[in-house]
């Protein structure tokens, strides 16, 4: 009996271990080894931290790095602010069929690929696009307006892409909040705002943190949306990595950039967890 359970356990854990070791751990070890070597001649390498040095010496790299982090945080916050009322409505106010329909509507955009979705936004926002035409037709502006290739366009795209990943954990945690608790707070003299602050948000905290972490990670590592909506000069850190690997064939520097990005996201996630007093088990469980 005991050996049987053991075999069952091994069988179940094997795919997970294979996945982790082959697809995540081994490539990362290899990447790390690549990042700490320096090319000194043709097919001649020596280990050094020169690649990381390059990163810190070049202001453009650091600037892009900081900019990517700030915009990702901002996108996460905007997503949260938009998703919270929507999730609250889906979880607490909508009933029965409406609830599932609304939830489905959040999912619908994800039935088409990210590239098609982003092209959709380009069609809306470009100079000859829908928004520009409507503005000209109503006479608000006299000539065509270019709304693509700026930070606002990037932000719109990022928030739009991330919405579902914020709504799902929020709806789940908000649904677990007993309606009676909200009523009790109201009954005891609470106003809408104070109930939100003292009852609803503390209860939803694990969902808020979980959603924010997922959205932040996705945004930070997003390549398509910033490139398409932000144009050539969008200065997203993943673009720099792409550039080093594919255009420059400088795998060493690209790998170092990759590790800097990993480090950055880890630090930010860790500090958010510390700041909100949440643990990873609590938010992901």
């Amino acid at each position: 009996m005991k050996t049987e359970t053991k075999i069952g356990f091994i069988l179940l854990i094997t795919p997970l271990l294979l996945w982790l070791v082959l697809l995540i751990i081994i490539p990362h070890i290899d990447m790390f080894l690549v990042s700490i070597r320096e090319r000194v001649g043709v097919r001649q390498y020596q280990s050094s931290l020169a690649n990381y040095g390059t990163f810190f010496e070049e202001p453009l790299y650091i600037w892009t790095f900081v900019r990517t982090a700030t915009m990702s945080i901002l996108a996460t916050l905007i997503t949260l602010v938009i998703a919270f009322p929507a999730s609250y409505y889906i979880a607490k106010m909508a009933k029965g069929r409406t609830q599932s329909v609304l939830f489905l509507l959040c999912l619908v955009p994800f039935w088409v690929s990210e590239i098609v979705r982003t092209f959709g936004w380009m069609i809306l926002l470009r100079e000859t696009g829908l928004v520009s035409s409507v503005l000209q037709w109503t006479g608000i502006v006299s000539g065509p307006v270019e709304m693509l290739y700026n930070d606002t366009a990037i932000m719109i795209g990022l928030v739009y892409t991330s919405m579902l990943f914020m709504v799902v954990p929020l709806v789940t945690t908000l649904e677990s909040l007993d309606d009676q608790i909200i009523e009790a707070a109201y009954d005891l003299g609470g106003s809408g705002l104070s109930i939100l602050r003292e009852v609803i948000i503390p209860h939803a905290a694990p969902g808020i943190v979980a959603g924010s972490i997922v959205v932040f990670m996705l945004t930070l590592g997003n390549y398509l949306t910033p490139t398409m909506l932000g144009g050539k000069d969008s200065l997203w850190f993943t673009e720099l990595i792409y550039l080093q690997f594919i255009v420059r064939f400088n795998w060493e520097l690209g790998a170092a950039f990759g590790f800097m990005l990993l480090l950055l996201s880890s630090i930010i996630v860790w500090s958010v967890l510390r700041l909100t007093g949440q643990t990873l088990e609590k938010t992901m469980g």
């Binding site: 009676q180 608790i181 003292e198």
Partner: protein, 366 residues
């Protein structure tokens, strides 16, 4: 003196269904008022209208003589203990109790003092910093009441708060709730489907069925003197027969049941006529049980027969008695005075009851 709570012709409709149908009652200051009824009878709807979570379709609700229909729930001088208590799991005990005071904008030091005082009053001193999920069922119960009572409401509403507790604790909490009510001297309005909760604690009980109050009165009145068939059947245990009135003589009606049993019962002053379809209720504990038939000669209704089975349940033990094969068994309380302890299945016994113990109501087939 104006009553603490008064409902006048209260009506609530949900679409086609009439959940509360023209209910009027008033609860005097400092009393314990219960609304007793089966689930779905509309009692929770009344409670939610008083608390302000539902708007009545008609009628008025007055608290201390003033209509509160235009007052939102967070401004009403009424607080509610919810069915699942609804304590705030994200706050400690002290923050739970102090929540209402914080919302009133009271100074922190004053809140802390009052919360401490309240914890002493409910016999849980020093538990202020505990988390809610570290408390036992009975402690949570007391916290939920304290959280409301600290606001000094005119009326405290309790929505079946004992439902989630196990039997032993529920028995204990009944006594404790009553004690808390007299200590705080606040009007309690308690809704339940459990008649024993209502009977033990209440000064006044309203028995509710399908949106209407069937009868309002003290526990004794409801038990000894039910005014409608529903109350007779719902409050306490009863044997029930359906039959036809054969003869009326003064206050006594002679009824022949469907199975051919003749029962003499009191007609309750209701206007029964010969030939009317009636329901008859006889409580198991109102039936006398004897091993010798001649001991029961003074009783108007007498039957001899066999014990079909003994339903032993300690003090609340009953036997099932059957006079003849075709008659349905009658439940009879087993006296605990000693002489009946060895009664077993198949034993020959006699039972009997007086005319007044058999209550007879006109049967309106629903």
């Amino acid at each position: 003196m104006t009553p603490d709570l008064e409902c006048q012709h209260l009506i609530k409709r949900f679409g086609e269904t009439q959940a509360v149908d023209d209910v009027s009652f008033s609860v005097p200051q400092g009393s314990f008022f219960s609304i007793l009824g089966p689930s779905g009878c509309g009692k929770t709807t009344i409670m939610r209208m008083i608390a302000g979570f539902l708007e009545p379709s008609g009628g008025d609700i007055l608290i201390r003589g003033k209509s509160v229909l235009d007052t939102p729930p967070n401004k009403r001088p009424v607080n509610m203990v919810f069915q699942h208590l609804a304590l705030f799991p994200m706050m400690c005990v002290a923050d739970n109790i102090g929540y209402g005071l914080r919302r009133q904008g009271m100074a922190k030091a004053e809140i802390a003092r009052r919360v401490e005082e309240m914890l002493h009053r409910i016999n849980l001193p020093g538990l202020g910093q505990r988390k809610i999920n570290e408390l036992s069922g009975g402690q949570k119960q007391r916290i939920a009441i304290a959280r409301c009572m600290i606001l000094n409401p005119d009326v405290l509403l309790l929505d079946e708060p004992l439902g989630a507790l196990d039997l032993k604790l529920r028995e204990h909490m009944k006594i404790e709730l009553k004690a808390l009510q007299s200590e705080f001297d606040t009007t309690f309005v308690y809704i339940t489907h459990d008649q024993s909760e209502a009977l033990v604690m209440s000064d006044q009980i309203a028995v509710m069925n399908t949106g209407r109050f069937e009868q309002v009165g003290s526990g004794q009145e409801l038990y000894y003197n039910p005014q409608t068939a529903f109350v007779a059947g719902f409050v306490g245990e009863s044997n029930r027969w359906i039959g036809r009135v054969e003869r009326i003589e003064g206050r006594e009606a002679q009824v022949l049941t469907e199975n051919g049993l003749t029962i003499f019962s009191s007609s309750q002053g209701s206007s029964l006529m010969t030939g009317d379809q009636v329901e008859i209720f006889v409580r198991p504990e109102a039936i006398r049980l004897s091993k010798k038939a001649e001991n029961l000669d003074d009783l108007r209704n007498r039957l001899s027969g066999k014990v079909v089975s003994v339903l032993f349940n300690g003090a609340a033990s009953n036997i099932l008695f059957q006079a003849e094969e075709e008659l349905e068994p009658i439940e009879v309380a087993l006296p605990q005075s000693g002489e009946m302890t060895n009664l077993a299945r198949g034993a020959e016994v006699a039972i009997g009851w007086t005319t007044d113990q058999a209550r007879c109501f006109k049967w309106t087939d629903g």
